[in-house]
């Protein structure tokens, strides 16, 4: 059975979209890039002559999803600014809303680290609940060991860490699982939010080439719950 994190990463990659901005000015792609770059989308630009219509084409790898005028997208992205004239109609609103899916993604290790730190901080702030973490390698774990010990002793978090072979010593205040072959290959973090939906989050990253990662994360309670259920069931 593939690891739940493999499924999570693969599903995100299948859903990955390409947003191609067709416009005369490359700067026209900036708002789209700022808004959607980490939202599991690749942003591209194609030059058109001055004065031509400007638009955005959305595709998955094999399918055309839709296209929309760039002005319309920009209006729909600024709901807080009163816009003269008619507000975007329902198909436009739902199309633009669907551009920002529930999954974020990055190929950038620093971005993935920053998100991991953000999730750890979130768990510490809430101070209780279950936190499941995989470090992909023992070396990576050992760099974080002191911080995790402290988290375990200073909060009421139940912290579970995963390895694919016996860990040489017990680690106080952490629950060590050392036969988790399916999980240990991934860099991951799943937090149950301490019970409520608002703080739930999960991240999984795969090292595809030495030091080249593809990672995805989500705040969607349903997706986080699914991952947690799968991790707990592997735990026994």
């Amino acid at each position: 059975m593939p690891s739940p994190f493999q499924r999570f990463v693969d599903a995100a990659e299948r859903d990955r979209r390409t947003l191609t901005v067709y416009a005369s000015d490359p700067d026209a792609a900036k708002p789209v890039r700022d808004r959607f770059e980490t939202r599991n989308a690749r942003i591209e630009f194609r030059q058109l002559p001055d004065g031509s219509p400007e638009f955005l084409v959305v595709r998955t790898d094999d399918e055309f999803v839709g296209s929309i005028g760039l002005n319309t997208v920009e209006q729909a992205l600024q709901p807080s600014i009163p816009v003269l004239g008619t507000p975007p109609d329902e198909p436009v609103r739902s199309f633009v809303a669907a551009l920002a899916g529930a999954t974020f993604a990055a190929y950038d290790r620093r971005q993935l680290l920053a998100t991991t730190r953000e999730f750890e901080d979130r768990a510490v702030r809430v101070g209780h609940g279950e936190l499941h973490v995989g470090f992909q390698s023992r070396d990576a774990f050992e760099k974080q060991l002191a911080g995790y010990r402290q988290m375990g002793s200073e909060t009421d978090l139940a912290i579970h860490v995963y390895f694919d072979s016996p860990y040489p010593m017990p680690i106080e205040s952490l629950n060590v699982h050392d036969d988790a072959d399916e999980l240990a290959r991934f860099w991951f973090l799943c937090y149950d939010g301490g019970g409520g939906d608002r703080q739930k989050c999960a991240l999984a990253a795969e090292e595809r080439q030495p030091d080249e990662f593809y990672g995805v994360w989500t705040y969607d309670p349903e997706s986080v719950d699914e991952l947690l259920a799968a991790v707990r069931s592997i735990n026994g």
Binding site: T20, Y22, R46, Q47, L48, P49, D50, G51, S52, P53, E54, F55, L56, V57, R59, E63, F64, V65, G66, S67, I68, G69, L70, T72, D89, P91, V92, F95
Partner: protein
């Protein structure tokens, strides 16, 4: 049409007819500007769908299918007949030749400056 005729005075009738339609002008212009004149059919269909629907709401997969059918059965054959483009077995579309007296007015037509 009248306007197009005036601009392309002296040009072959078949070329004039090929250029009378916004979708075909858009294809020609894009080919001229991109990838050394060769663009996959799918990209042209995306382009024309986005271009012709940019003023409205959302163009969906059905709109795109209609554009693709027309491109495949009407627009590209017409452009091929005039010798302006060639379509290969893998549905890549290549710009063959654009007479100098077509090239410049085409760009202007596309952006609407000469279309009114």
């Amino acid at each position: 049409m009248n306007n197009t005729q005036t601009i392309f005075e002296g040009t072959d009738d078949a070329v004039i007819e090929a250029l009378a339609d916004e979708r075909r002008r858009c294809v020609l212009y894009y080919l001229q500007e991109h990838e050394h004149g060769t663009v996959p059919f799918d990209e042209l269909a995306d382009l024309v769908t986005g271009w012709t629907n940019a003023g409205g709401g959302v163009a969906d997969a059905d709109d795109r299918r209609r554009v693709a059918i027309r491109l495949h059965h009407v627009d590209l054959p017409m452009l091929e007949e005039t010798g302006l483009v060639a379509v290969d077995d893998e549905r890549r579309v290549t710009l063959r030749s654009l007479p100098d007296d077509v090239r410049e007015p085409l760009a202007e037509l596309l952006t609407g400056r000469l279309s009114h």
